[in-house]
């Protein structure tokens, strides 16, 4: 019999990263993500890893990128203001295709905002915060156990697709403590980045069939060049139109041609539902409670929980929305993911956003009251 434990979201996030093979953390502690840095500072030295407290978040992601270029699995953790500072380097990691994970425990913004209160208002920043067309993956856990599993997955996806992955937790999940059970046979699968086996026959930014170039570790056997400038397959800057377009397009299709491997959603009473709720992170917990209560009252409600936020689960959302009378999207922001949902709905009049921006979690009552008005 496995003993259940009381664990915290931030704690499980750090432990998930360690289990996924992360051995480098650089960061600048910030509420509500601080526990993550705290745990890494204790645990990484024991595993021969490195914990670095940096002077700010710009340097934090720079150090993470540097560590990753040498072949280490690397991570940083922050919240809104720090995530804003990281945007420039996030773009660098995207164009230089450096695997890395950025945990953003979302608090209410903009700016310093409300440091201790939850929000989900960095959803669009995770996708478009850095300039230029680029690809990114973002995941949102809804429970403490999932904070562990999705951190593992974030590390794995970063390694496999050579892309920055944002773990978009919110303060509620980051600080939540709940009962967690790890089964003894539960294995953590680690994905490794594709390595360059023969530099004579391959190039560091080579156009391969799956869109992912083989990785040349810095400090290893081969010399190569990494730059934020648009580069050709050799890694050196190019100004040839064909080469520019080829790089930007490949940065996209290396993600879009692997959607079935990347996109995850969870269905909760969706099939026969008349009213569909689409939610993620902590608001999905309120939505689950609302679905259970609605079903007790004989109302056919269902929840599509988005685990992957970016790339947006277009196919899954449009399939789940078929024949629904209404689609409710509760969020702790002014309606960010609701815009994406609206984009793929057959009829925009089906959409009912619920927006809470006072630092409190959307309640099941709020969802049920909107449901009561339409169904």
């Amino acid at each position: 019999m496995v003993k259940p434990k009381l664990m915290q979201g931030n704690e499980c996030c750090a432990l998930g990263a360690l289990a996924a093979g992360v051995r480098f953390f650089a960061g600048y502690p910030i509420t509500p993500s601080t526990e993550i840095a705290e745990i890494f500072s204790k645990e990484l030295p024991k595993l021969g890893g490195v914990f670095m407290q940096m002077e700010d978040e710009i340097a934090s992601l720079a150090a993470v990128i540097g560590a990753s270029l040498t072949g280490k699995k690397a991570i940083t953790a922050t919240s809104g203001p720090g995530f804003s500072l990281m945007q420039e380097n996030l773009g660098f990691a995207a164009v230089a295709e450096v695997p890395c994970v950025i945990v953003n425990v979302m608090r209410l913004g903009p700016s310093t905002g409300m440091p201790t209160l939850p929000a989900q208002s960095d959803v669009m920043q995770a996708r478009w915060g850095t300039h230029g067309d680029h690809s990114v993956i973002a995941l949102a856990p809804s429970s403490v156990k999932e904070a562990f599993c999705l951190t593992v997955r974030a590390v794995n996806l970063a390694e496999r697709y050579r892309v920055p992955v944002v773990l978009l937790m919110d303060e509620v999940i980051g600080h939540l403590r709940e009962r967690v059970v790890f089964q003894p046979d539960e294995k953590v699968v680690q994905w490794e980045r594709k390595q360059c086996l023969n530099p004579k026959s391959s190039q560091p930014f080579e156009e391969t069939a799956d869109g992912i170039p083989p990785f040349f570790s810095f400090g290893g056997e081969y010399r190569h060049h990494v730059t934020g400038l648009v580069h050709d397959e050799s890694g050196f800057p190019t100004s040839q139109r064909e080469g520019i377009s080829r790089l930007i397009r490949r940065l996209h299709y290396k993600i879009t041609q692997h959607l079935s491997d990347i996109v995850q959603v969870e269905e909760f009473f969706v099939d026969d539902a008349d009213v569909l709720i689409i939610a993620y992170g902590s608001t999905a917990r309120s939505a689950q409670a609302a679905v259970v209560r609605a079903r007790e009252e004989g109302k056919k409600a269902g929840l599509l929980r988005l685990i992957t936020l970016w790339p947006f689960p277009e196919k899954e959302v449009s399939t789940a929305a078929v024949n629904k009378k209404a689609v409710i999207v509760p969020e702790m922001n002014m309606g960010q993911l609701a815009l994406e949902v609206a984009r793929v709905l057959p009829d925009k009049n089906l959409l009912f956003p619920i927006n809470r921006v006072d630092g409190e979690l959307v309640t099941p009552d709020e969802i049920l009251s909107v449901m009561g008005r339409i169904y």
Partner: protein, 188 residues
């Protein structure tokens, strides 16, 4: 024993109420229950409004926050003003008699316990008041058995902190006992 408990410990930052809520949630899980613990506090490290919440249930807990607690502890006047109105109809209200000036019974299941006063008097400091509160809660409500909480203490506190926290907990148990004599047993 299958009662659904929605516990809110409210007061000011620095009183240790979030820590008390974590120990309570941990003990509930050791006792075989499902439990979630959440918190709300301001950017100040001390003095701002603060609350720790624990839901204890035999079922899945989806929504992790509490709208209407059925066990509310208030450790400041502001806490009474903010939270007493949300107490569930059959809920229990425990106030710190030392810090709360509003002492008129607000609900039928109302307990006054001189938590901070006892802590100051017997241990010379206020900082163990959170474990006095926990002791009082456990004696009045038996939300989790006393021995399970003691077992949690062993894992939770370092050796040098354990002794005084145990003393504080015992002071709380006795204070809870007295409160039952003064105000009667609670009814579920």
């Amino acid at each position: 024993m299958s009662k659904l408990w929605k516990v809110r410990l409210s007061g000011k930052g620095g009183q240790g109420l979030i820590t008390a809520s974590i120990v309570l949630a941990d003990a509930a899980i050791r006792f075989g229950k499902n439990a979630v613990q959440t918190q709300s506090y301001g950017p100040e490290s001390r003095g701002g409004a603060c609350r720790g919440e624990v839901i204890i249930s035999d079922q899945n807990i989806y929504y992790p926050k509490i709208s209407h607690p059925n066990l509310l502890v208030c450790m400041s006047d502001t806490a009474v003003k903010t939270h007493a109105g949300f107490l569930a109809g059959d809920g229990i209200l425990i106030i710190d008699e030392t810090l709360v000036t509003q002492t008129r019974p607000i609900k039928s299941q109302f307990y006054k316990v001189p938590i901070t006063g006892l802590c100051r008097e017997k241990l010379g400091q206020d900082i163990y008041a959170n474990m006095v509160v926990l002791g009082a809660i456990i004696r009045i409500t038996e939300v989790v058995p006393e021995n399970v909480v003691l077992e949690t203490f062993q894992d939770y506190f370092s050796l040098e902190m354990l002794e005084t926290n145990l003393q504080a907990f015992t002071i709380g148990l006795k204070a809870g006992e007295k409160a039952i004599k003064r105000f009667g047993e609670f009814s579920a």
